[in-house]
Point group: D2
Chain length 441, copies 4
Amino acid sequence: MKDYFPNVEKIGFEGPDSDNPLAFRYYNPEELIGGKKAGEQLRFAVAYWHTFCGEGRDMFGEPFFERSWNRYADPYDRSIAKADAAFEFMSKLGVSYFCAHDRDLAPELDTLRQTNALMDRVIPHIQALMKETGIKLLWGTANLFSSPKYLHGAATSPDAKVFAYAAGQVKKALEVTLALGGEGYVFWGGREGYETLLNTDMKRELDHLAAFYRIILDYAREIRFEGQFLIEPKPKEPTKHQYDFDAAHSLAFLQRYGLEPYFKFNIEANHATLAGHTFQHELRYSRMVGKLGSVDANMGDLLLGWDTDHFPTNMYDTMLAMYEILLNGGLAPGGLNFDAHVRRGSYEKKDLFLSHIAAMDAFAIGLKAAKMMIEHPFLERGIQERYVSFDSGLGAEIEKGPVDIHSLESAIIDTPIPLPASGRQEWLENYLNRLLLSVVR
Amino acid sequence: MKDYFPNVEKIGFEGPDSDNPLAFRYYNPEELIGGKKAGEQLRFAVAYWHTFCGEGRDMFGEPFFERSWNRYADPYDRSIAKADAAFEFMSKLGVSYFCAHDRDLAPELDTLRQTNALMDRVIPHIQALMKETGIKLLWGTANLFSSPKYLHGAATSPDAKVFAYAAGQVKKALEVTLALGGEGYVFWGGREGYETLLNTDMKRELDHLAAFYRIILDYAREIRFEGQFLIEPKPKEPTKHQYDFDAAHSLAFLQRYGLEPYFKFNIEANHATLAGHTFQHELRYSRMVGKLGSVDANMGDLLLGWDTDHFPTNMYDTMLAMYEILLNGGLAPGGLNFDAHVRRGSYEKKDLFLSHIAAMDAFAIGLKAAKMMIEHPFLERGIQERYVSFDSGLGAEIEKGPVDIHSLESAIIDTPIPLPASGRQEWLENYLNRLLLSVVR
Amino acid sequence: MKDYFPNVEKIGFEGPDSDNPLAFRYYNPEELIGGKKAGEQLRFAVAYWHTFCGEGRDMFGEPFFERSWNRYADPYDRSIAKADAAFEFMSKLGVSYFCAHDRDLAPELDTLRQTNALMDRVIPHIQALMKETGIKLLWGTANLFSSPKYLHGAATSPDAKVFAYAAGQVKKALEVTLALGGEGYVFWGGREGYETLLNTDMKRELDHLAAFYRIILDYAREIRFEGQFLIEPKPKEPTKHQYDFDAAHSLAFLQRYGLEPYFKFNIEANHATLAGHTFQHELRYSRMVGKLGSVDANMGDLLLGWDTDHFPTNMYDTMLAMYEILLNGGLAPGGLNFDAHVRRGSYEKKDLFLSHIAAMDAFAIGLKAAKMMIEHPFLERGIQERYVSFDSGLGAEIEKGPVDIHSLESAIIDTPIPLPASGRQEWLENYLNRLLLSVVR
Amino acid sequence: MKDYFPNVEKIGFEGPDSDNPLAFRYYNPEELIGGKKAGEQLRFAVAYWHTFCGEGRDMFGEPFFERSWNRYADPYDRSIAKADAAFEFMSKLGVSYFCAHDRDLAPELDTLRQTNALMDRVIPHIQALMKETGIKLLWGTANLFSSPKYLHGAATSPDAKVFAYAAGQVKKALEVTLALGGEGYVFWGGREGYETLLNTDMKRELDHLAAFYRIILDYAREIRFEGQFLIEPKPKEPTKHQYDFDAAHSLAFLQRYGLEPYFKFNIEANHATLAGHTFQHELRYSRMVGKLGSVDANMGDLLLGWDTDHFPTNMYDTMLAMYEILLNGGLAPGGLNFDAHVRRGSYEKKDLFLSHIAAMDAFAIGLKAAKMMIEHPFLERGIQERYVSFDSGLGAEIEKGPVDIHSLESAIIDTPIPLPASGRQEWLENYLNRLLLSVVR
């Protein structure tokens, strides 16, 4: 293993009072929380693209991050060096999973055959690094948005050749995911949508998208890929309107095309807020419909209208996310993938560690607070009591159904209806603060 | 008929050069557009609540509109006066439909029985006015959001008594709609949602909502109400999150609960934009899934974050809306309901006419421009040509399916993919301007 | 004193582990923080309008809060009862200040003379309650937005009579503020702005606004009112565009008209976010220009586009706000006014206490965390070190000025510029979490 | 002149009925509008960066535009080729101005001296092209945001060396602007702001910014640059908060530092909307304070939260913009710079023409409609009549001032105030539609 991070040791847990920036203060993977190790509950994954491919470009600024593993001119050498850096980083950070696009692992060459051949040379090195470090692939995915050929979409391109190319590319990405033992496979359709309805046949495009999924599902059966398929909703950016706008849009699509049994969702915090929802909302909705599969753990800035993909440090968000995740029975075989990049101003290699530490500590705090939310009698019991009128009598009949409208009418037609009890929202918010501040006491 | 608008004659069509503010310049109901009368294609409806109940209140201001029909203390007298004013107004405006909540027609009294009894006294008067004027009810609906009992929702209230009351109220509203010959019935669930997930069992609430719909559908069959049921999506306001966030959310819900066959959507422009979509998007989506049933024609201000419900005067919006509506084969038995109120500063009775005229002229312009969009060879042909690669060969096989991934792969694995053609969006926008400016030439 | 809150005792501090909802867990007014009592640093004020006048109305819902002090038909009786309730509530809550509009204290009658006469009858009762309880008026203000006469603005109305009326109303409001010993007077120009530029002479309106302020300033001198004048910026709502959009807009206005010396700002959290800024930004900006005078402490929901005026419970916000306030040397003679209302669903009288407790605890936490931000060596020292290149050499010359461009050019023309150091934002966010979690250890 | 656009002739005016995509339908530079040539009133400028440097990159996509002038490896050759292409394009389009950053004309080399030397080699070629074509430089500017050295700002960088480098760079940019006869010089401070207040000394940064401007102003006097200095406000992107948030923020800054006499504003449509304002608002505000200097004519998408910089095709926007510009007495020596790029999907060279044609036609329509707005008696007279109460009597005294508050009070204290007249907003919107549709009749 090369020494790309020479001044960094393995990041250890040192507790809340440590002044060592390169240490966890709240995340102790061995700590038992509710009888289970924190490290096993917080299935953290590093996003290969942001952390090892990111170069600090923004819409008004040139790339400039000095990442010594990117200095190689030859694509094979660069891929190998990047992998070496990645596994060194992840080992030192103490994270057990990574996520990657096909093109993060090996770049695109002139033809798909050449591209695949390069990939075939890179994969054994990555397999060796995985074996050496014990780090696993949480999920694989294909980059169907960076290449110019996808300018009008991939599976929803108006051009059948592009559709075919995308299918061919996913075929290989699936093979690679299988070869690396990936526990899932994600579709994020960043260009599957439209810029203007004036040139778009939305129905035809969605028919194509469904056909695309069917082709991939068939191939997964063929090669016995048994990982979880995940759709990652996002409302916009880069595309004006993205078909997988949010979890409900994706669900409606899957239901319409009979594809519901085969997919879960990969919910991203910043995508939720761009769609006008809280992170918790998208998690709750997905959980409710049995589709909460995995999470892209990051953070947006609600005063900015684009996908900032910041590292998640807001404790309210991590607490409420972990609350939904715990009530989901965890995320396995999914996990918490840090689809997040350092700010452009945090360009030093050290910032890569500091950012992940900040996020991992925030999620460890969130896990502890969420466990209290569930165990503390107020919250869950409060919800049960709120709906108690549906546990017996008329309410129970309504839930059991069918119930006759005449009996409902006669129950209320001569009676003034007393007000339902206060929702106590301010008190609940106060209570969350109290739980958070109890985390380290 | 009383004379609530003494200085206004029947509004006539006077053509583009008329300086008479109380005349149509573009809307001529008798004009043949594409062989069909404009008045029959633009099934305008006046919204009873905004135009006859609105009093100029806003969140920081007191009500003050002088509407002489509201001066009666007795609820029956007030309801009758309001109806008289409404039918005088609609007759003079030349609109053939109206839409109304139950509580617009007659107010709530102490018990539902008393409320219904008052309604039973009012209805014959309205029937007589309808007969006299020929004005019809486009759709009816129940106000399940103003009364305090609905503070935590109606069908999704945590209180079973509130659920029962809501069912009883809708039962009567449906009977009234039937009695008035309403062509549809709308559900807008303004309080069906949550303020905070901390006290909300989302799954249980949605189960209740589905049960509620089943009960109403059963009753509709019982009384042989054969009008169209419509759900009106809105993402938020008054509720933090409304379950019928947008058309896709509503569709996902209907599919999950097996209710899809029984509902279409009533799409509102301002609700679309609050959900992060264009008006056209929601119309297109609904049309695509066979659910475009009716339209609440208004306009929001995208720099304001609330439901402004302005009268629709933006010609781009009316053109693109009418484009979708024409491609939908029209809206009947639905229509274009002006769910819009005059600005608070436009408080004079005359403004009620001026606002409707502005909106009706804008939609007449939109109809003419949309007809040109469809008939002009550029647009539709352009879309067909854009997807031509799916009309034969590999593309046609993909559409027919199933297609083998290996054949797709072999088609592209050794071939560089040429770029799909330009989307020509700026040219298309230019073309829309040209069509608009051709409307009156 | 009447007993409007019979089941509530004086709210006491019981510490973090108390399960008593009617107790402070973090706010102990007697606790010394940095050598100064918490109660003196957190100059909390109750907003008379939200807490004692609010009735639970929203844009889609009727008022329904049962506030027994509002049951009186006679305006004098109602005003007296409201005052009794208010001072009982504030005494039990343990808050030393209140803020009020003129119309909160006594309603408007047919003419200003009658209105003023009623006010003159009410004031002695309020003075007596103030004396009895020791509770003081933080600031007074006039309601220049609810009455229909102000539909197009007050000082910026196109109607000179409305301008005159507004001046007359403020004259009395100032006299009342003086009579009650108010420490400040606030202008919130909710209707000072425009709905459309198509009918608006912006320059003339702003000239009028400046004239208005000059008239009031003259009168303040005449009656020897020496309290602080404050402008409260808000970008919109109810008006489409409000002239006092944010602190910078207000400053530009004051500078242009030579009014800068006479005003500070009253910064509201929810107004800041509606303007696209963080709460901290508006506090920082105001502090930087010497204008941070007082604070309306509330909280918005960034996914909702209107002024939600929620009680502030977000600890990040309270920490960063108190950081700015401490660096401002406190707010006196201003304070922290809870311009916040309970959610409509939190309609019980008990919720009024629970909400204020939640907010006061959150600000007590914020005060403690902010004190640590300042005292802990990392943050302030980090900022100083970041700009160290301006402390000597070329940087110091630039700051001293004037500096010649040729010397600047020669310093860099042949030298590659090394990158400035990382901004370490993720680490700083992590550090804030650590401080927050240290508050109660 | 090379032939970079071989299939395009000079774009001519062919009138509304032409089907030739490469022709103007509404923009006829020779047409007299209000006695003045359209071409002279619409001082169009092409933005060098978007049109000749843009390569189709977005945050999720690689660059791919085939622009043959960018194929040269040598920086000098590339600069010359780009200039050749630019002047061919502008000549064929028929635009008389261009705008450019220093780095658009010649790229940055290792040191500023080398960079300047390359610029010195390129400038004579550009001067020759300008002479040959008659095309002039509307304004010059320096790119102080792309280079990594500016990652924390240029004039507001915490690093004095960066400040010095920025000054040196602007020095040269000013010399180049002078050499090219530029009529103005623009400052857009894309990185002058902050990412987080936790590491930012806002006051010190703004002091530096003022010092920077003073240094540049001194140098302009030294070299006798007499062009107009312009500040271009933008609220955010790339920076979280940009100090020149909007026109009012910039004005407050200029006033605080005594810099007001030396600057006007360059108002950009998309920046206005990102700040929460309409384009017209920012134009009106700037006009009102005597600071409307030039315009970046583009268009955003209000449902997208980033700077889309689309070509402006919305006729409402162009009409209202031209209304403000005409009332400003035009923009000269400023103009209408198309700070706009083709959508990524509009990647063909032909789209560069189609986009500019769409925008130029839209502004020609806007000019004609705006002229009607001013000449038509309704609008301007309506505004004057709205404020008529300030033309005499009490209103005139208020405007003249000082006026005594007692006389104002006595004028209204016993009189009920009649409501001011309706604002007639819906009627005004209707009227705008009528004007637009009259443009080509």
